[in-house]
Subunit: 157 residues, 2 copies
C-alpha cells in the first residue's frame, strides 16, 4: 500500500455516544486499521453466497440461528433489517426447508426460528468458508498466534 492521502490527525468522532473517548491510543488506531483491512479484505460474500445459492442476508440468518434459535425481533436487531424484510427473508429460508418457525415457549406472540437438519448442513458449509482465516494470518508464528488469541479472547462480548 502506498501512502494514504488523508490527514488522520483527528480521528475522534463527534456525534455517537459509543466510543466517545477523546484520547484513543495510537496503537489502538493502528491495530484497528490492520484488523479492519484483514477482515474486510478477506470477506468472501460472493463465494459463500454462490456456494449456498443464497443471498448474503440469508446466510447471515443461517449463521446467526446456528448459534441458537432466535426470535424474529432478535434476528432483525442483529442484522439491522426492519421487521418486514426479516419476515420476507425467513419466509424464503423456510420455503427452502432450511429453517422452521417454532412456537416460543413463554410468549405465544413470538416465534423461534431454528435450523432444520438441512439448514444445519448449510450453516456448517457457510461457517467452514467464513471462519477459515486468511493465509497471511495463519502463516504467523505459533507464538504470535497464541498471543493474538489470548489478547483478543478478552474482547469477545
Amino acid at each position: 500500500m502506498s501512502a494514504p492521502a488523508l490527514d488522520k490527525s483527528s480521528a475522534a468522532n463527534d456525534g455517537e455516544p459509543e466510543d466517545s473517548d477523546d484520547l484513543v491510543p495510537p496503537a489502538a488506531l493502528e491495530a484497528w486499521a490492520a484488523m479492519r483491512e484483514l477482515v474486510l479484505d478477506h470477506e468472501r460474500k460472493k463465494e459463500v453466497c454462490e456456494a449456498l445459492g443464497l443471498s448474503f442476508v440469508r446466510v447471515r440468518v443461517l449463521l446467526l440461528v446456528a448459534q441458537a434459535p432466535q426470535t424474529m425481533g432478535a434476528i432483525a436487531a442483529r442484522l439491522t433489517t426492519d421487521p418486514p424484510y426479516t419476515t420476507l427473508v425467513v419466509d424464503d429460508l423456510e420455503r427452502r426447508g432450511l429453517v422452521e418457525r417454532r412456537a416460543h415457549p413463554t410468549d405465544r406472540r413470538a416465534k423461534l426460528v431454528a435450523l432444520t437438519p438441512s439448514g444445519e448442513e448449510a450453516a456448517r458449509r457457510a461457517d467452514a468458508l467464513v471462519s477459515a482465516p486468511p493465509t497471511r494470518l495463519a502463516a504467523l508464528d505459533a507464538d504470535d498466534l497464541e498471543v493474538l488469541r489470548t489478547i483478543l479472547a478478552g474482547l469477545s462480548g
Copy 2:
C-alpha cells in the same frame, strides 16, 4: 454469547485456491473468529452513510480514491462491482462534486478518478467514523495494544 451449536471440527475449505492450507493452527481459528466478530460487530455503515448522505458503495469509493487516484477498472476490481455499475456510482459522485475524472497520463482510454476538495472533506469525515476503534479494543492495556499493533503490522499486504 451462549455455546455455538455448529460442529467446527473441520474448518478446512475445499474449492478455493487461496488459503488452501489443510493444517490451520487452532489459535489462528480463534484469533480470526475474535477479529471477525470485533470488526463486523462494529461496522457503522448506517452511521457513515447517513452522515454523508451517500450509499455505502459510494463511501467506499471515496475512501479508496482518498488513498490515491484510481482508474475505473481498479475501483471496480477493489469493490467487486461490475464496470457498468462502477460508472454509475462514479457518475453520481461526480454529479455531487465529490470526485472528478481526470485524463490518465499514459493511457488515453483510461480515466483517473480523484477527489475534489469537498470530496476530500467528505472522505475525511467518513474516515474519522470508520477508523475509530471500538471502545473494548481501545480499552486494552497499553502493552497489549502495542503487542497487537506490532504483530498485525506485519500482515498489512
